[in-house]
Symmetry: C5
Amino acid sequence: MMAYLTPAVRNVLSWYDGERPGVKASLARMLMHGRTGGSGKLVILPVDQGFEHGPARSFAANPPAYDPHYHFELAIDAGLSAFAAPLGLLAAGANRYAGEIPLILKANNANGLGTVKDEAITGTVRDALELGCSAVGYTIYPGSDRQYDMFEEVRAGAAEAKANGLAVVVWAYPRGGQLDARAETALDVVAYGAHIAALLGAHIIKVKPPTSYIAEPEAQQAYASGDYARLHDRIAHVVQTAFDGHRIVIFSGGPARDDATILEEIRDIHRGGGHGSIVGRNAFQRPRGEALELLGKIIDVHLEGND
Amino acid sequence: MMAYLTPAVRNVLSWYDGERPGVKASLARMLMHGRTGGSGKLVILPVDQGFEHGPARSFAANPPAYDPHYHFELAIDAGLSAFAAPLGLLAAGANRYAGEIPLILKANNANGLGTVKDEAITGTVRDALELGCSAVGYTIYPGSDRQYDMFEEVRAGAAEAKANGLAVVVWAYPRGGQLDARAETALDVVAYGAHIAALLGAHIIKVKPPTSYIAEPEAQQAYASGDYARLHDRIAHVVQTAFDGHRIVIFSGGPARDDATILEEIRDIHRGGGHGSIVGRNAFQRPRGEALELLGKIIDVHLEGND
Amino acid sequence: MMAYLTPAVRNVLSWYDGERPGVKASLARMLMHGRTGGSGKLVILPVDQGFEHGPARSFAANPPAYDPHYHFELAIDAGLSAFAAPLGLLAAGANRYAGEIPLILKANNANGLGTVKDEAITGTVRDALELGCSAVGYTIYPGSDRQYDMFEEVRAGAAEAKANGLAVVVWAYPRGGQLDARAETALDVVAYGAHIAALLGAHIIKVKPPTSYIAEPEAQQAYASGDYARLHDRIAHVVQTAFDGHRIVIFSGGPARDDATILEEIRDIHRGGGHGSIVGRNAFQRPRGEALELLGKIIDVHLEGND
Amino acid sequence: MMAYLTPAVRNVLSWYDGERPGVKASLARMLMHGRTGGSGKLVILPVDQGFEHGPARSFAANPPAYDPHYHFELAIDAGLSAFAAPLGLLAAGANRYAGEIPLILKANNANGLGTVKDEAITGTVRDALELGCSAVGYTIYPGSDRQYDMFEEVRAGAAEAKANGLAVVVWAYPRGGQLDARAETALDVVAYGAHIAALLGAHIIKVKPPTSYIAEPEAQQAYASGDYARLHDRIAHVVQTAFDGHRIVIFSGGPARDDATILEEIRDIHRGGGHGSIVGRNAFQRPRGEALELLGKIIDVHLEGND
Amino acid sequence: MMAYLTPAVRNVLSWYDGERPGVKASLARMLMHGRTGGSGKLVILPVDQGFEHGPARSFAANPPAYDPHYHFELAIDAGLSAFAAPLGLLAAGANRYAGEIPLILKANNANGLGTVKDEAITGTVRDALELGCSAVGYTIYPGSDRQYDMFEEVRAGAAEAKANGLAVVVWAYPRGGQLDARAETALDVVAYGAHIAALLGAHIIKVKPPTSYIAEPEAQQAYASGDYARLHDRIAHVVQTAFDGHRIVIFSGGPARDDATILEEIRDIHRGGGHGSIVGRNAFQRPRGEALELLGKIIDVHLEGND
């Protein structure tokens, strides 16, 4: 047999031993696609900013991005691994770009106009299957008053997704409860979020790069002997808490910043063993040419040391 | 083949590429009906004021309007695109006027006597199908404490509607949460509501004409470079936030006013690229003759430049 | 064909054009039964006072009324149109009196011991069918914090009832929210409740006779030009708000009072175009003989001018 | 035919005219069992104290009662009509004692450690059928903030029970809402609870013996003309409010007390027309021999005047 | 027949008389496995600390424990009876170690970042069956405001588990409501939790070793005559409250402590008739060699007096 999958991808799939073949095939589809295809790394374009922050705050800086097709083509032309978006946005291009790039249905969403820390289920596994997606994605807010409802929604959605051969992505964003704003990106809290995502059965976990702050008094001791001053060590810790590096953990880039800062962070993610990046605002809030250039450089970093 | 659909309607349908044929046929039924038929524009009569404000406040100014049949005949005789109403009102004429005009079941409703910012589901897709409707419609209140429940109700209803070949209309009325009364019609907020409706999978989005006020502090910068002093530019912005003009966005007229003011606003909607109007109180709160005259003029404006 | 239905009943049924044949047959069963049979009017005995106010407050004044059979026989012997009661009470006589009188299952109920303005669903359409009922009935509290839940329960119950050929009765009792005790019987508020019941799809609407008070500031103007000093004009207005008189609207009599007062009110209901009466406490809180006499007189009033 | 059922039992069954044959058979099974078998009276052992008050408070006074089998054997050896307990306790002996005594699954339970006035559904009709029960039992708290949820749970459970030939027992314990501790056993309130249980469709109603206190101001008048100083008259009133004596109403004995007091109360229950007793703590919180003796005397009282 | 089951195991199974054969077989699988196999005792490794306390607090002391496989191998190599963990962790090794050790799906979980005393359902009976588990486990918080929801979730899960031949484990942790921190381990409260677990139908009950504190004022009297100064007497009392010793009750070890203290406590559990231990942090928060040594000693204690 002439193997299609690379050893790096086979290695990643081995972490999901026991999972259904259809799920492995969906993971492989994303891992083999685009410029990082075969390397075991993922670079994903997510476009749910319009739901979270509103359209003008998301797209006014680069008006062509008001068009859903813009994002499909940006992800395709940049050679990304997958494109993630809410139901309406995905449905606006799923037929036109069918087969061009793996899709992830972002199945729950929050709205910045309200004050309740929760999300609405806005898409289903059935929707994802009809749109030809490879995965469904859910945000959880560990710590919030609604966290248990959110976990139960993920549980139900993930079970249905897996039974239908879809991969499951979890955006782990601790907030609410005992957590203030600074705690949301604290090392212990980000790691806690990643671990919960893994325990809930996520195949791919998306978190923010953590700061060196330790938020929980009870966790101080556990971090006392380690050195977490450098980002790549913090990245390595978060990856470790996701089943000792046996779950795909990818990191977001946060608000739009200058390229040097972004790429330095990506290098730390790569050095710390992160499995890729999810780049939204830094991709679509600049002109297409500049976006393609930055995404190219991000991919290059994730491919360093890869042959 | 002698095409029945006009190029303008074919263009609109192209925005819904990938949608089920039955849904496209339902959209086409409304787009080909009445005096705006074939132009790509819609003018709709909605009669849910009785639920929202009570019967006397809605119909005392024009007592024949207490009769459900009055509204069916008004919409038919004015050559409108569709008639939208709650279950009981639609059911009171659906048989008698079957086939005369496309119907939209307004499937959730609120009641002005209470204080909770929410709506009740008062009709189902099954009801809409039995009544011969072309679409179901839902109101959402982005920002309210119940918004996520409302989004989930729309999600469930829209999925069932689409699977049964019905179009989905969303009335996007931000309110509650961080929004005061002035914010409800602010440009950024109206645009946000339209965008969320699109992301939820609405085919037709109904919003209020926005003021030039920007309510969200975080959104100020996104609007800083634009000029939104004129209504038609604001209309154009809202249409842009609905997938770059690739969703049907129609505008309401608000409380009863003098004709000149109404028609000037309609002209701005038309000039800004709005896809039509939904005219309730300005239609049924005046004598039938005057209503037909005003609706005729509104249609004329929406047909300007159309051959 | 020798028509069984009278022209008056045919006229009433014509208001429900488009409704399923089974529903029309159930309406006809009530409209053709008892002494008002054929006249288009209804006089109904409701016995849910025990649930709402407790047994002694309901029946101590006339102890034989503790027995469910008493009420069946009272309704039958008085020649009423139908008998309405909660599940347990109906079930206690449904077999013994099967076929003697149309039954209405009062499917939700409230309890005076608590403080929450809501009702429990205590019966189902399935129960109603098993008991041989012609209709199911629901109370709604427009304005209360639970109103939307109640509307959704009515919606679901009504849809199932209609699909099974049962008629739907709605007791519209505005309360809670912005409404104080005086507002509950205000003309605008009672009319609002009747209109919502019609919009929810009720076939028969039960309200209280309204006072001349207008509770909503926003509604003052709508009532400014009318003269509502006399009860029969208020009755006519409420009937008008129920689809311009095309829904059966019946009125309750309130607490036990002297016969002259009651009959004067009934005359106003009749003169205002009300379609009948629902008489509870004034029927079962007096000795059987007196009750039959009063009910006879009430029926006489509703038959005035009828041949 | 040599009739198995006695005239007394046939009489009781006649109250449930129209009920399914399977339900009548289940009622008959309890009414024909044990020493009161055939008399139309019931004496039942309930053991849910462990759930309500904890194990030591329930069983430390008589340690053999920690064993579930103890209760089965106590009920059997005392010649009782039925044994009622929560799921786990019934399941611990249902097989061993299958067929020895009718069983009642107490299907909801509360826990004294918490502060919320509600109960959890801890068993189902399906469980009851698997365990070979003759009935399911539910507690309701008329007046509490959760009362409508509880009523709806009873409604659903009772409907399923009846459809499967099981009888329905309701423990009516008014509390919460407008009721203080004294009101919970007030005559008007206990009667109200019994009446609601009947309206909800209970076949057997269990209440506490009422005091002569009248708690509701609105109910004072209804009780003004009666004389309720003696317990047996209060018992008779409660029985009257349960469909004029056409529902089985049984009374609990409350906390452990001296035998003379207990038996005097039983005599009043018997004299007032109560249909039996449900004796928990007074049965299992004393040595087995003493318990058998007291239960024997209780049965004797209920059989007085019976041949 | 050459019996496979030992007399001790047969005796334990006899407590579950009437339970389905599949459930007995699942219980037998755990009771016959590992070094305590055949003795009637259980020693279980639970790894849900990562969900409850976060990954670093759980595993930083012994980093190999970040890897799910570590725990499977620890449990296997120590000769334990079963391994219990949340869905994601079990799924990470269930295929690789299929058949090596009985598995328990911990089907609900709480997260230390929040403030709400509840748990999320994170796994289902269907999941447990797919993973080849012998049991499902649920935590309950008797006393908390959510306790009744939790009981109902256990009820539903347990019924489905039993119908599918799985055993049911309940972790009974009273908290919330009237209970302060000290009360959570009070003798009366721990016993109450164990009793409720039994009443809910648990086959295996897991509690904490109780202190001699009596928390409930109403329970003082019930404990007044007993002597509960020594732990083994308190253990014996808790076992007694679980159906007089006819349910498997196992005890947790609490936070990591020195071995002498741990083993002394285990000896008291053994002496008091406890049916085994569930050892988490004391097992995986130390180097593997030391863990195997301690677990070996714990097993030795539980086997004392056993031949």
